[in-house]
């Protein structure tokens, strides 16, 4: 089980992976404490999968180094392999075999004898609700069933570190919730999970810490809360009674808050980012905005203050780097 050693689950510094001239991963640093869920968040092509492949000993880095529980992913690859499991972005189960055959095969490859492999496979099929589908070829499974089988295959031997590369991409909401429940249960038993995702919602719900990556580098790192507050305290959402007053309201907001005011497609709504940090200061600023609008004679039907969503955080962070190449964090 994890926790037997004090080494972090993952420690990577200056990881580089080149594909021709493309720097898929370009000096990436990562530190994942054991026993946590760590989210790696980024758009397509940010280098998430390549990073996972290097950490899971599938691809050798061109530069930098990484250790898993203190063991080097290149020089001690075999030792690393005995402690990790990978559920890849594309189903890492054999589509031509049945669900049961897949699990029996992998159990045997992990060293279980024939009857033990069979018993282990059946237990997993039961626990993942796949007993009825056990005898069907995986190519006939739905996306959600396939994912469950895939994750089940990863915990045939309880791993110390589990890589989940975009575990819910392409799943319907119900299957997504199932996967989230499964991940939580796995973590509760001490396995460290490194999860890549494009969905901020997912990272927000599951991860203890998040690294936002873009162009192969970490551009921000922290708890979900820290990331949100780094972008600002939150946003003000306004709905006006009279759409004709929107221009005037916008003017009031702009003069108080600066330039960060967006008119929404609905002609009565406005969204503005609060510019001061800290919850109390933000509430105070929101209250002053409301007062100022009343003074200007603008009727507000609905007024709400919210934390920025991780989506807003993400867009703010990636915009910043695509424009200027400057690197935060």
């Amino acid at each position: 089980m994890a926790g037997t050693s004090t080494a972090p689950a993952i420690e990577a510094s200056g990881l580089i992976k080149l594909f021709g001239k493309n720097r898929a991963v370009d000096g990436l640093d990562l530190r994942v404490p054991a026993g946590t869920v760590y989210g790696v968040l980024g758009p397509n092509g940010a280098g998430k999968t390549t990073t996972v492949r290097m950490l899971a000993t599938l691809t050798r880095p061109n530069g930098g180094q990484a250790t898993v529980f203190g063991q080097d992913v290149v020089r001690e690859a075999d030792a690393v392999r005995s402690r990790v499991s990978l559920t890849g972005q594309y189903a890492s189960v054999d589509e031509d075999l049945t669900g049961q055959e897949n699990l029996v095969l992998l159990a045997r490859l992990l060293g279980h004898r024939k009857s033990a492999a069979r018993a282990r496979a059946d237990e997993l099929l039961e626990a993942f609700g796949l007993t009825e589908a056990a005898g069907r070829q995986v190519k006939n499974y739905s996306g959600g069933m396939r994912r469950r089988l895939d994750i089940g295959a990863s915990i045939l031997n309880t791993p110390d570190l589990l890589f989940l590369d975009e575990p819910t991409t392409g799943l319907d909401p119900r299957s997504r919730n199932q996967v989230w429940d499964i991940v939580r249960t796995i973590v509760a038993h001490g396995t460290t999970v490194l999860l890549t995702t494009q969905y901020l919602d997912e990272a927000d719900r599951l991860a203890d810490r998040i690294a936002v990556i873009d162009h192969g580098r970490v551009i921000a790192e922290g708890t979900p809360g820290e990331l949100k507050s780094s972008v600002g305290a939150g946003t003000v959402h306004l709905r006006l009674r009279d759409p004709d007053q929107r221009a005037k309201a916008r003017h009031v907001l702009t003069s108080m808050l600066g330039a960060a005011v967006h008119p929404e497609s609905d002609p009565t709504t406005l969204v503005a980012r609060i510019t001061v940090a800290g919850d109390d200061a933000a509430t105070e600023q929101a209250a002053r905005v409301l007062g100022e609008l009343a003074v200007a004679g603008i009727t507000v039907d609905n007024f709400s203050v919210g934390q920025p969503s991780l989506d807003e955080v993400f867009l703010a962070l990636t915009d910043r780097t695509t424009g200027t190449q400057e690197v935060a964090a």
Binding site: G111, I155, T191
Partner: protein
């Protein structure tokens, strides 16, 4: 992605993960010892067998194809070269067995090419097992296919009147030698399967290699009538040595020099192409 899966493929509300059942699985920390090289290869061989079970059509190339080749060449050349088809068959059968089996080895490379592109290979490669096991296991599965092809040809030959002087033992020994050579020879295609981008390119490169190698040999005719430069090639062609050795064994007078030659070329093929294949496999 199927969003509208019909009822039955994944009936809603059937599954909700219960922490208790999963917890019982996760709480287990007993880890068996890692499997031996042999056990891991055997597991991958079992995977190959399962694939045959699920897609039995893939056995056409090791049954129908060898039968066609045997019938075709026996009746095409038999009368002209040896007076009768039955007479020619006594000369042709060991060689046509070699030719058929070696032509089939190409499918091994195509299979590897398609297989390693699949996501499941990522999982195999993160397992703490003997590294060549996945490739060796797949090849062992193919060896059973080679064995089936060789057996089918021999039975067809016997039905058509082939009477080997070496008897059952001689034929079994010859087939054993042919299969051993095919096992080593297949690593050429495994290497190309790992090197090239598509199954088609594996096939594209194998044909210009396989046809000259099998035809420019002593499979079909005695090389004595060939021009000197061609005789020189035929003599160093490992296929010629394999055919001579197999013929000897089937005829009941195995030539130890030829057999040694064949086993030596097996070793060279294995060392060179096995090593190259593993390098490519580890870099994939």
């Amino acid at each position: 992605m199927t969003t509208l899966s019909p009822a039955g493929t994944d009936s809603p509300s059937v599954f909700s993960p219960t922490p208790e059942t999963m917890g019982a699985l996760l709480a287990r920390t007993d880890r068996p010892r890692r499997p031996s090289a042999l056990a891991a290869s055997a597991a991958f061989c079992w995977r190959a067998m399962l694939k045959i079970k699920h897609v039995p059509e893939q056995m056409f190339d090791v049954t129908v194809f060898p039968i066609i080749i045997t019938l075709m060449f026996t009746y095409l050349f038999g009368g002209a070269l040896a007076g009768s088809a039955r007479e020619y068959l006594q000369y042709l059968l060991p060689g046509i067995t070699v030719t058929s089996v070696l032509l089939i080895t190409m499918y091994t490379g195509m299979g590897v090419n398609a297989d390693v592109a699949k996501g499941v290979f990522d999982r195999f490669r993160t397992l703490p097992i003997w590294r060549p096991a996945a490739l060796v296991g797949a090849l062992l599965g193919d060896v059973l296919r080679y064995l089936l092809a060789a057996t089918v040809i021999t039975l067809v030959g016997v039905a058509l009147g082939y009477r080997p002087a070496g008897g059952f033992v001689g034929v079994v020994a010859a087939i054993g030698l042919i299969i051993a050579f095919a096992f080593a020879f297949s690593w050429i295609w495994i290497m190309f399967g790992l090197l090239l981008r598509s199954e088609k390119s594996v096939m594209g490169i194998s044909m210009p290699v396989l046809f000259p190698l099998t035809f420019l040999s002593n499979v079909f005719v005695d090389p004595k009538t060939m021009p000197g430069w061609l005789q020189a090639f035929v003599e160093v062609n490992p296929i010629t040595h394999l055919v001579t050795a197999a013929r000897g064994l089937m005829a009941g007078n195995g030539d130890i020099t030829e057999i040694t030659w064949v086993l030596g070329s097996c070793a060279v093929l294995l060392v060179v192409f096995g090593t190259l294949s593993m390098r490519l496999y580890n870099r994939k």
